[in-house]
Structures are given as structure tokens and as C-alpha cells.
Amino acid sequence: MTATTLIDACAAGIVGLGILLAVTRSIGRSIWLVAAQSALGALAAIGVGMTLGLAQLVVGGLLALGAKAVVYPLVLRTMLRASSVSVERRPYVGPRLSLVAAIAIVFAAGTATSDLALATSLGGTRALPAAIAAMLTGLFLMMSRRKALSLLIGLLVFENGLSLAAFALTYGMPFVVELGVLFDLLIVIVVGWVYARRMLRVFGSLSTDELRSLRG
């Protein structure tokens, strides 16, 4: 298996999981899905690193696997258990329309990147449109959901798209930068946790509907 087919296979999986996330209303299941999506991204890095003999890709991939596919989902599950809601009951956009939107995003990302001159210079992988699609799906999730946890999940999907883009464009960023990005993501999740707990205490729910007092 060449590096290119491996990347393409993982990219396809990432897009597929993004569409599944868009139609899932159970927050618990969403956490597993986003963990699987993160794992695919990390596996792509490890696989390509081993094929091409790039040690830093393997190490970065392993770190990403541990952080994004194991630790962050566990933190999210802990948050979920602490709250009483486990289902995104009334998202702004329902599952059927979300499915349509998620598929539309994939096609839009594909067409938008197809006429870019840069697509040709990337060694023929289709990972860039997949990365853009994952980023947009993450944004869509964040805009269409109400629960604080769903927003954090959307942010993780957005970040999975970003890492895939990093991978598609350059086989990853310099190692220190990768480390820094993972570290930043960790503190976003931790601070998100802190605020989710405060929301539970002050508003009694994790719904961002409560957050509408600041205007003008």
C-alpha cells in the first residue's frame, strides 16, 4: 500500500465519520465517533511515517492518538456523566437537514479545491478537499447544536480537519509546532470542562441557550 492510498483511505473515513456525526443526536455516541475520527487521522500519520521512514511523523501520530483518540474523549465522557443531558434534543438543525448539509459540504469542498492550482502539486492525494470538508463539518456542528459538549465535539472535528490539512499539504508541521497544537487543544478541552461545570452549577444545564444575555 502506498502512502497516497493510505492517506486517501483515512481521509475518506474522516469524511464519512463527519457525516455520521452530523446525523447523530446522542452525545455519547458523538464522542465515540469523534474519537474514531481522531484515531484515523493519527493512524494515517503513523502509517505514512512508517512507509516513508519518517520517525517524527510516527511519534507525532502516536502522541495524537493518545491525546485526541483516548484522553480528550475520556474527559468529554466524564463531563457527559456529570450532566443530566445525554442527547442533543432540539438542535437548531434537525438530523435530516443536517445530513443534506453535511453531504453538500463535502461536495462544496471538493469543487472548491478542484480548480486550485495547488491540488495538482500535492502528489495526487485527495486529502485536502477531505480536510476542508471536515473543518466545515466541525463548524456546521458548532453552529447547529445547543449543548456546550456538542460545541466542544464540533471543535474537535474542526481540528481533525486542520490536522488532515497539515498532513495533506506538508506531511505535517515541524514537530515542535505539532506538539504546541496538541498542547493548546488539551487546554481548550480542560478550560471547556471548567466552564461546562460552572454552567451546570449556575444555569443548571449545559445548554448554550442560557447564554443570550449579552447584547449591544
Binding site: 492550482a117 495547488l118 506538508t170 508541521m173 504546541g180 497544537v181 498542547f183 447564554l211 449579552l214
Partner: protein, 489 residues
């Protein structure tokens, strides 16, 4: 010498861990000590660069040119004002629990320490990492008061800030992709100095996209409209000393990151692409800020929207380019940082003593709170760009620079918007300062000599700089302008 100074700059970051766990009465002293060491180190690093020549250390990981050194000085100056204002905030804040003081000081150390590392890095990826890290740490400070409104503001800031700056990471990636093809997978392919030196040969398509995403990402952090929606909430709900840093230093640091991308984009694509976008978003920010300033009822939101206005003007100046507008920009960022930080501290004092943010309920503050009231009025007059404020000089320079660089229409539009904004701003300031007092003079209103000095020094500095520019400062500004003009420094 450089190593010692660099080590000193990192002291606040390390000391934060200690301060977090320190008992409440010790935390403040430990933190101020750590800040002092860091501040001295930062000044020791920046001064030789501003007066003489750029610094490179540790194999190019640390690279400080005049622009970076200038931003470092602004961060230090604003931090001093915020630290001086912190004890009064902690005395007035009623929601504090045991251990909160230590946490406040620790977070402040990480926030300021993180901001100070941004201009030290040459690597655009590390610049991103540092800015994002400060965003998240400051989100904890924004919601420090634990009120529902503070939680709302902090949540919006965390989520919108992270997504917004995610786009800046994509921009950074695209810049990396453009240089990797020329340089190969070397670790310095993301170094700004390296990128800038080969900018003319980079792939224009990639660089164009890189700048667009950097504009959205760092534009969000700079508070440029239409990506500004988090800013009034975060800057108004945060503890006032934190608002001071957010407005005075964080926005400046973000504009700095954007300027780095602008310089590369101009060198690759010619000046018109990124300049036009900066001018457009700058004007839009001035337009968006105007109605919210005129119709504002909340004192801290008034100051927050004024920051959007001033950063819009900053983007405009960066877009105009040319030595006059860029010189104006440099002076503007310094003077805005000093003035806005003092205003947030003084205005925060009024808000905390008056137990309300509503402008209507704070009237007559000049009579009630002599120190904070006078500082607020003086700072507001300076911020409005009335002579002898340095902001008068900088705004005239920016607008004049715009006219002489062929941006006549944009400069004229900006002048009209600025005049209207100032009128609206001063109307509210008048209501706060004069008018009938709603309550008797509070305790501690008349005897705060240290606070008076802490507020008077930065404000007087801004007033003096409006009349007289010392030669070393003029030389330093010229060096910063040389970097911003693409001539190295």
C-alpha cells in the same frame, strides 16, 4: 547576557505554577516579584534591538527585530498598568473564594508571560501556538467573576477565539506548504525571516490563501469587524485589569501576527492585495464600532467598542503603508495601549465602586471618586485624540499617510467616522464625569496616592509624547517602520 534576559522573560510562566498554590496573602507578592524579573528581562532584550540592531539567539528559535521588540515593550507597559490596578480589583471583587487570589495572579502571570513570548519567536507556527495558549488562559480570567454574564462571555471567547484562530493555523500551514517546496522539509521553513527572504519566489496562489486565512484568524483576535462579536462581551465582563491587557496588549500582539503575514504577502503578491483587504476591514471596523459607541449604555462596553475602532484604524494604517502612516501606526499602538489600559483600570474602579456598569448610574464620578474620576476623564480626552495627546499625532499621521499614499477616499471616510465616533464617545464620558452624583463619595475615594501615580504616569506619558518625541524614541520608531515597510530592521 541574552540568555539571562531570555530566562528572566520566562520567569513569569514558571512562577505561575508556584503562585497558583501559594496562600492568598503571599500570591500577590510572589507574582509581582516574578513580573518584575520578567519585565526587566524583556526591557533588557528589547532596548538594544530598538536602539541598535536585531537579535538572533538559540540557533534562530529566538529572533527579535525592531517590530517584535516594540511589541514586547507595549506588552510590558500595559502589564505594569494592569498589575498596578489588580490589588484594588481583588479588594472590590465580592465573589472571591479562598485560593482565588492565587489563581488570579497565576493566570495573570501565564497570560502576560505568554503574550511576551509571541514577539520572541521567529517561527510562525510557534507564534500561533503562543497566541492560542494566551487566548485559552485569558478565557479563564474573563470568567473569573463566575457571574452568569461572565460565564457567557468567557464561553463565547473560548469557542469563537479557538475557531477563529484555527483559521490562522490553516493560514500558517499554507505558508509552510509554500516554503517547503522551495526549502525542503527543514525546520526553518516556517521561520518568518526565512519566508520573508524568499517571499518573491513563493507560490502566489498559496500565499494569497495563506493571507486570507491569517486575516480571518488573527483578524478575529484583533477584533476586526465582522469577526469582532466576542470582543465587547469578553472585554466588558473580564476583571478590569484583565480588560486592560486584553485591549492594550492582546489586540496589539494579534495585529503584530497579522502584520507578519501582510509583509510576506506584500513581498510575494505586490502590495495591493493584502493592503486592500486590510483597508477594507479597517474601514468596516470603524463603521461597525460607531453606532455601538453612540448608543452605548455600558461603560466597559463603550471602552471595548472603542478598541474595535482603534484596531480598525491600526489595520487601516497597515494597509495604507508608507513611512508616515506606519510611523503613525507605531505611535498609535503604544499610545492606545497605555491609554486604554489606564482607562479600563480607572473605569473599572468607577464600576466596582458604583456597583454598576450602566453609564446612567455612574454620573458625577468626578465628584465621587477624585482619583479614578480624573484619570478616567483625562484618559478619555487623550483617547479621543484631542491635542496634546500622542493619539492626535498618530491619527493625523495615519490619515495624512493615507492621503499621500493614494488612499484618499478611504482616509477621508475614516476621518469622518473618527470624528463622529469621538463625538459619541465624549458625550458618554461627559455623562460619567459630570452630571448629578447618584451616591455619596465612597470609602477610599480620597486617599489612594499609589493608584493616582500608577494612573497618572502612563497618561502623562501619552500627553508628553504628543508634544515631544525624544530622539531615541524617534530612532526606535524609524527602525520599527523600516521592518513594517519591508526593509528589515
Amino acid at each position: 547576557m541574552t540568555t539571562i534576559a531570555l530566562g528572566a522573560v520566562l520567569v513569569p510562566l514558571v512562577a505561575g505554577v508556584l503562585v497558583w498554590f501559594a496562600p492568598d496573602r503571599l500570591a500577590g507578592r510572589l507574582a509581582v516579584g516574578a513580573f518584575a524579573i520578567g519585565g526587566v528581562g524583556a526591557v533588557a532584550l528589547a532596548m538594544p534591538v530598538l536602539l541598535d540592531r536585531p537579535l538572533r539567539a538559540f540557533g534562530g528559535v529566538v529572533a527579535l527585530d525592531a517590530l517584535g521588540a516594540f511589541v514586547l515593550i507595549v506588552v510590558v507597559a500595559v502589564a505594569v498598568i494592569a498589575i498596578a490596578g489588580s490589588p484594588a480589583y481583588l479588594r472590590h471583587e465580592r465573589a472571591l473564594r479562598p485560593g482565588d487570589r492565587g489563581r488570579y495572579w497565576a493566570l495573570l502571570l501565564w497570560f502576560v508571560g505568554g503574550l511576551a513570548t509571541v514577539p520572541l519567536f521567529d517561527n510562525l507556527g510557534l507564534i500561533w501556538v503562543a497566541i492560542e495558549a494566551t487566548t485559552i488562559v485569558s478565557a479563564l480570567l474573563v470568567g473569573f467573576a463566575r457571574t452568569p454574564a461572565a460565564i457567557e462571555a468567557a464561553w463565547k471567547y473560548l469557542i469563537l477565539g479557538s475557531v477563529g484562530i484555527g483559521f490562522a493555523l490553516l493560514g500558517t500551514l499554507l505558508a509552510y506548504a509554500s516554503s517547503v517546496r522551495l526549502l525542503g522539509e527543514t525546520s526553518d521553513a516556517l521561520d518568518w525571516t526565512r519566508l520573508f527572504s524568499i517571499a518573491a519566489t513563493l507560490d502566489p496562489g498559496l500565499v494569497r490563501l495563506a493571507f486570507l486565512f491569517a486575516l480571518v484568524g488573527y483578524g478575529t483576535k484583533t477584533g476586526l469587524a465582522p469577526f469582532h462579536t466576542w470582543l465587547p462581551d469578553a472585554h466588558s465582563q473580564a476583571p478590569s485589569p484583565v480588560s486592560a491587557i486584553l485591549s492594550g496588549a492582546t489586540l496589539t500582539v494579534s495585529l503584530y501576527a497579522l502584520a507578519r503575514f501582510h509583509l510576506v504577502a506584500s513581498a510575494t503578491l505586490g502590495p495591493s492585495f493584502s493592503s486592500t483587504l486590510l483597508v477594507a476591514f479597517g474601514l468596516l471596523s470603524l463603521m461597525v464600532a460607531l453606532p455601538f459607541i453612540v448608543a452605548q449604555g455600558d461603560l466597559k462596553r463603550l471602552l471595548a467598542y472603542s478598541s474595535i475602532e482603534h484596531m480598525g484604524l491600526g489595520a487601516l494604517a497597515l494597509g495604507f503603508g508608507g513611512p508616515i502612516a506606519l510611523g503613525g501606526l507605531v505611535l498609535h499602538l503604544l499610545a492606545h495601549g497605555l491609554t486604554k489600559a489606564s482607562l479600563f483600570v480607572a473605569g473599572g474602579g468607577l464600576v466596582e465602586a458604583g456597583r454598576s456598569r450602566r453609564i446612567a448610574r455612574l454620573s458625577g464620578s468626578l465628584a465621587i471618586a477624585p482619583v479614578d474620576g480624573r484619570a478616567f476623564l483625562g484618559g478619555a480626552l487623550l483617547l479621543s485624540g484631542l491635542p496634546p495627546s500622542a493619539l492626535f499625532v498618530s491619527e493625523v499621521a495615519i490619515l495624512f499617510g493615507g492621503f499621500s499614499a493614494g488612499w484618499g477616499g478611504a482616509a477621508a471616510g475614516a476621518a469622518v467616522l473618527l470624528a463622529l465616533t469621538v463625538a459619541g464617545f465624549l458625550f458618554h464620558v461627559g455623562r460619567v464625569s459630570f452630571g448629578t452624583a447618584r451616591r455619596p463619595a465612597g470609602p477610599g475615594a480620597g486617599h489612594a496616592p499609589l493608584r493616582a501615580v500608577g494612573l497618572a504616569v502612563p497618561l502623562l506619558t501619552v500627553a508628553v509624547l504628543g508634544i515631544w518625541t525624544p530622539d531615541p524614541l524617534a530612532g526606535a520608531i524609524a527602525r520599527v517602520v523600516a521592518v513594517l515597510g519591508g526593509h528589515g530592521g
